[in-house]
């Protein structure tokens, strides 16, 4: 398949998750909605079902979900519920609701109440103290609960071999996505911010083995091209999600490429592989413990601002000139962490802008102005 055909396919999948879900259902597969963050998708895959990412929508308007949600819940969570209430995701066979942030924790009960008998809602509480043996054991117990609930849906036992196979598939997929991120920066004349986003977003709506085959094909095509001599500017993006093509188009209009990202929906989801362990559940719990430099997870050494320094170094090492932070409205973890991130960026003399966004925004006039002005600042500082 040609590079353009592959990019078009990823774009179509990213734009039409419902169509993708319908396709899997026609194949007789069961599908499980997976809400953010860090649900062990491997267990869904090991059960022979399709894990289906639920990160809201850029096309829907919150209506029915308002019945269940406080106004200060982020639009990602509210729009995920909206799609479960308006029929868009009726074909799902269940959902997993992780509870890492202060919105998703109560929201897990809103999902449970609103879904009633419609579909099973699998509660997942990750441990705050994830490093110590008791934290690891808690995580293993939680994953065992998720496994048991998935077995009820699929009607078959998920064996350790199934989990080990899923871990292998997912680690290969993570490696392919990390390679793509590097290649996308080297070939930012071809992989525009919009295309980059579509390729990474499609991973949430595809079986990972199918996705990885296509992504490896794209990576090989990209690797054949000479590294581009980019005349514009490069930035690192940060935040929970930045997948709106209308907003990303402003990057392209102003010759801004994405060198790397610190986005929960993108690289933060595939930075860390699952380690080898004869016990699949323990391996998955260890991977969760190994995740670092993450806004959403507890850092016993947070006073050292390790994460801020990590992001600042990411900007420097990726060859970017600045950072664009997409601040989701009502995202408490990101809002609370921002002063520390700003401090680290200022200390490293890295210019940045913070764009307030939510998934119901349709007009990006102010954001476009800020992006254009930021491009001017970066250009003049070259």
């Amino acid at each position: 398949m040609s590079m353009n055909a592959l990019l078009d396919e990823f774009k179509n999948i990213a734009e039409s998750p419902k169509k993708q879900l319908d396709g899997y259902k026609k194949q007789g597969k069961k599908a499980i909605g997976v809400l953010p963050y860090y649900a062990p998708e491997e267990l869904v895959y090991a059960a022979g079902m399709v894990p289906f990412g639920m990160w809201g929508s850029n096309k829907k308007t919150i209506s029915r979900a308002k019945e269940y949600c406080a106004t200060f819940y982020c639009t990602i969570a509210q729009l995920a519920l909206e799609m479960l209430l308006d029929g868009t995701m009726d074909d799902l066979d269940g959902i997993i609701t992780p509870t890492i942030c202060d919105t998703l924790r109560p929201m897990s009960q809103n999902f449970r109440v609103s879904m009633g008998e419609k579909m099973p809602v699998i509660f997942l509480a990750h441990p705050q103290n994830r490093f110590d043996s008791f934290g690891l054991q808690f995580c293993v117990d939680q994953y065992a609960h998720v496994k048991k609930e998935l077995e009820k849906i699929t009607g078959k036992e998920i064996t350790n071999d199934d989990i080990q196979n899923a871990i292998k598939v997912y680690n290969e997929s993570r490696a392919a996505r990390r390679r793509f991120v590097t290649l996308a920066s080297e070939h930012c004349d071809v992989i525009t911010p919009t295309k980059r986003s579509a390729v990474l977003k499609a991973s949430w709506f595809m079986l990972k083995d199918e996705y990885t085959v296509k992504l490896n094909e794209l990576n090989e095509e990209l690797a054949k091209l000479p590294v581009c001599d980019w005349k514009g500017t490069k930035v690192v993006t940060s935040g929970i999600i930045c997948d709106n093509p209308s907003l990303l188009a402003a990057f392209e209009e102003n010759h801004i490429a994405i060198a790397a990202d610190d986005v929960a929906h993108e690289s933060r989801a595939f930075r860390v592989d699952v380690p080898e362990d004869s016990d699949g559940l323990k391996a998955l719990a260890q991977q969760f413990a190994n995740i670092d430099y993450e806004v959403l997870l507890y850092d016993p050494e947070s006073s050292k601002n390790r994460r801020g320094e990590f992001v600042a170094n990411l900007v420097k090492e990726s060859g970017a000139q600045g950072l664009v932070l997409f601040m989701q409205q009502f995202c408490d973890p990101e809002e609370m962490e921002y002063p520390y991130l700003k401090k680290a960026l200022d200390a490293a003399h890295i210019p940045h802008i913070k764009l307030g966004i939510d998934q119901q925004m349709r007009d990006f006039g102010q954001a476009r102005t800020a992006i254009q002005a930021f491009a001017d600042v970066l250009e003049m500082s070259k």
Partner: protein, 263 residues
Amino acid sequence: MSATYTLGIDVGSTASKCIILKDGSEIIAKSLIDVGAGTSGPQRAIDAVLEAAQMTREQMAYILATGYGRNSLMELADKQMSELSCHAKGASFLFPEVHTVIDIGGQDVKVLHIENGTMTNFQMNDKCAAGTGRFLDVMARVLEVKVEDLGRLGAMSEKTVGISSTCTVFAESEVISQLAMGTDKCDIINGIHHSVAHRVTGLAHRIGVVPQVVMTGGVAQNAGVVNALCEELGTEIKTSPLTQYNGALGAALFAWQAANRAR
């Protein structure tokens, strides 16, 4: 050698402004139409400035558009630039010692940090009308006064009434409550000016306020807001009679640079 004329147009949310510059240094003509993006304002402003200069479009070496509606002039203008860069340029032209520009426009607030005439950092308000020109429009309507009279009326105040700086809708309710209690309008207006100043001060301190401070945009014509900001920031604030034209002036200056590069 013949002179080079450039045109800068600033299509804001509430007004369209044009400036024609001769050789990047002399203002030949200016125009202002009280409607902005999405209206006949931009075209009327261009027609008016060309008429005032007794020149034609063809005599302009370069036209540069800025402001919220800049992208609606893709066919007419040679280039579009963000109003932040243009305000920085215009303010640096009018006040060469400037380090901080506070621009309060119709629907947003921007604070720019300038080094050697170049913008090096900036902050914009969140998607909220509080602290903007629109905030003052809403309050003037509730108070049944003209927005251009707010500065004069506020100066007659003897005390400041506390008005919320968080939200235009809440602030409007507070103003209505104050009117119902019989509070003097001039005192309420003084409170409104301080409300705007509180909001803008918070934004300004995010990037740091380094003198010389210059205020641009239509709201800079309101002495009440300027004085309240001086108090809040604890520093003198410069303004210019050309304050409303500052974005257009910056656009015309960038246009002159572009015209020279093209030669």
